[in-house]
Symmetry: C2
Subunit: 355 residues, 2 copies
């Protein structure tokens, strides 16, 4: 296999067409071409067509770098995060990337320490630095009014992902986490589970409260009393989930099902059960929340709520990009609620009370 020849002769390489070339071909000024590219409305239709034809035949693509320099935009949007799981962050990222590629934007990632100690310097860097056109704020950043305020002060539009509380000044994208948790709990109850353990998520994430709220509500609606010893405080990490699961499995009576607030903790629960010699779902049913990759690699596979994380990232970036440069954010784009669904895999069985 003969690898790697010399470079081809580039003498005949075509140069990329510029706006000037388009203008010449269409016999208009570059200004008009620019207008066609940006607000078609202000140009006569016949002219628009002429220009469009020239663009087409020259295969012209606007140079985003020149556009950034001349205009005020940087064509960068930021994604800032601290402690979400890698899986969550990368799904969000890939989703955002998708919209960015569509609109010719770029993503810059800013990661913060879990304790948010470095928040000030990072924000300063962002605001003072390359000039980001907008920022995507997932939990827990999206629940920190002081941090958000800094972006607003710096005139950087933001969109929040799954915020704890809505705010009608800032667009956000989310799913109905409370209802999803409600559905999942009801699903377990319908399978005859009554002693259901619950592992709560990180207290800094709004979703944790919503998920627990859905659990509580379903239990109440089904007249089942929640036992305090079956509720444990986790932090969304595998390790925290493992600890909680071990405590739960040591209770008497042992819960017949455990609902963990995310997949990492649910998977940890499955591990803890294996460690304790319990079989799943025979001895214990386990469910999670999120449907990240972890849910697909246990035995049995995890029954969980599919959260459309990628789609949320995609939509967030889309909204952000379409708000940049607009005078102010109009009332329409507030809350975007994406659909979820419960995905049944192998980690739940109907409970058969011992007779």
């Amino acid at each position: 296999m003969a690898l790697f020849y010399l470079k081809k002769d580039k003498t005949f390489m075509k140069k990329k067409a510029t706006m000037q070339d388009v203008a010449d071909l269409a016999q208009v000024s570059v200004m008009t071409v620019s207008r066609v590219l940006n607000n078609k409305s202000l140009v006569r239709e016949r002219t628009v067509k002429k220009v469009l034809r020239a663009i087409e035949s020259l295969q012209f693509k606007p140079n985003t770098v020149a556009r950034s320099l001349a205009g005020k935009k940087s064509y960068y949007i930021g994604l800032i995060y601290s402690n979400p799981s890698d899986a969550y962050a990368s799904q969000l990222l890939f989703g955002a990337l998708k919209s960015c590629q569509k609109y010719g934007y770029n993503i810059v990632i800013e990661s913060l320490n879990e304790d948010l100690k470095d928040i000030d310097s990072v924000i300063k860097k962002i605001i003072g630095g390359q000039s980001i056109d907008g920022m995507i704020c997932p939990p827990p950043i999206c629940n920190r009014p002081k941090i958000l305020q800094k972006f607003i002060d710096a005139d950087i539009p933001i969109v929040r992902i799954s915020p704890e509380q809505k705010c009608d000044k800032i667009p956000c994208v989310s799913m109905d986490e409370k209802q999803a948790a409600y559905d999942m709990t009801t699903y377990l109850i319908n399978k005859n589970h009554r002693d259901i353990g619950f592992i709560m998520g990180h207290p800094d994430h709004g979703g944790s409260k919503l998920r627990y709220g859905g659990f509580q509500e379903s239990m109440a609606d089904n007249n089942i009393k929640i036992k305090d010893n079956l509720i444990q405080q986790g932090y969304f990490s595998y390790e925290s989930g493992f600890k909680c699961a071990e405590i739960l499995l040591a209770q008497n009576p042992r819960p017949s099902a455990i609902f963990a607030s995310n997949d990492d903790m649910a998977v940890a629960t499955i591990s803890a059960a294996h460690k304790a010699g319990l079989s799943i779902p025979g001895d214990l049913s386990v469910v999670g929340f999120d449907d990240t990759v972890a849910a697909g690699i246990t035995w049995p596979k995890l029954t969980t709520i599919h959260q459309p994380i990628l789609e949320m990232g995609e939509l967030a970036a889309d909204i952000l990009i379409n708000h940049i440069g607009k005078p102010s954010i109009d009332g329409e784009n507030r809350g975007h609620i994406l659909p979820y669904h419960l995905v049944e895999r192998g980690s739940v069985a109907a409970h058969k009370p011992k007779s």
Copy 2:
């Protein structure tokens, strides 16, 4: 909690310092500032210091957009991939991002279908499009000479990650996969395993051959004959690993240990063992390769080879960025071999032959 005040009055907002400001303060020309920023070597040391002081006191950061427009570089590098696992891709990405942030570069991600059918249009888009300054090529792209040649023809520097075969015209970063697999096999043999099952990786990835080669060599060096029925062809996916593991576990005699060519398949093997009612590591030892997140969320946790994926991405981007614009790639930067290590967790036990 009063959320979100009005924007602050921006009348007094400082404008970002430009090179001109630095030049004025240092009493030199912008040209000199530019030189200090790029090739310090050509400027008198005293002048350099003066300029540096001005940069410092003005908190000057070069505007990368202007730099791109004026220079020929786009300050983008690409990461192209097809079927590596999400975990692998995102580690690589985060690593590359780290170097990019250091040098003021951006990453653009290009993902291809697994069958590579869309390769031509994607490459055309890349080459004709925003002008990428360089490309990071992980497997299996890095093993496709025709694809690489297209980048070379377009004068886009590339660096390969874990290529199947070296080539002295193109820099690459990798680890010694064969030796690592050798070590892992020897580790298993030292624990008294003789009937060792092996699940091979995707045939398109160079690493698959290297890993199997290391296995073969260690077995040979220890005078153990490899049984054909204990070698199965996987494709690096969980599903493929699961199938292979089921076949392996049905053999008679059953292997006492299974070495899967990556973590996803090793984790699938653990699942298959659980499904078969086998306990790990009591009835079966399992090891993997890569040390991705999957390795930490099974019970027991997986003993595996830690592959420095993040570091490989970081180094690849670093090399690439430092080659951009340089006349040609000089002999020194060819092969970068990063260290690996074997991480012992809970999935291996010493084999006690039945007496």
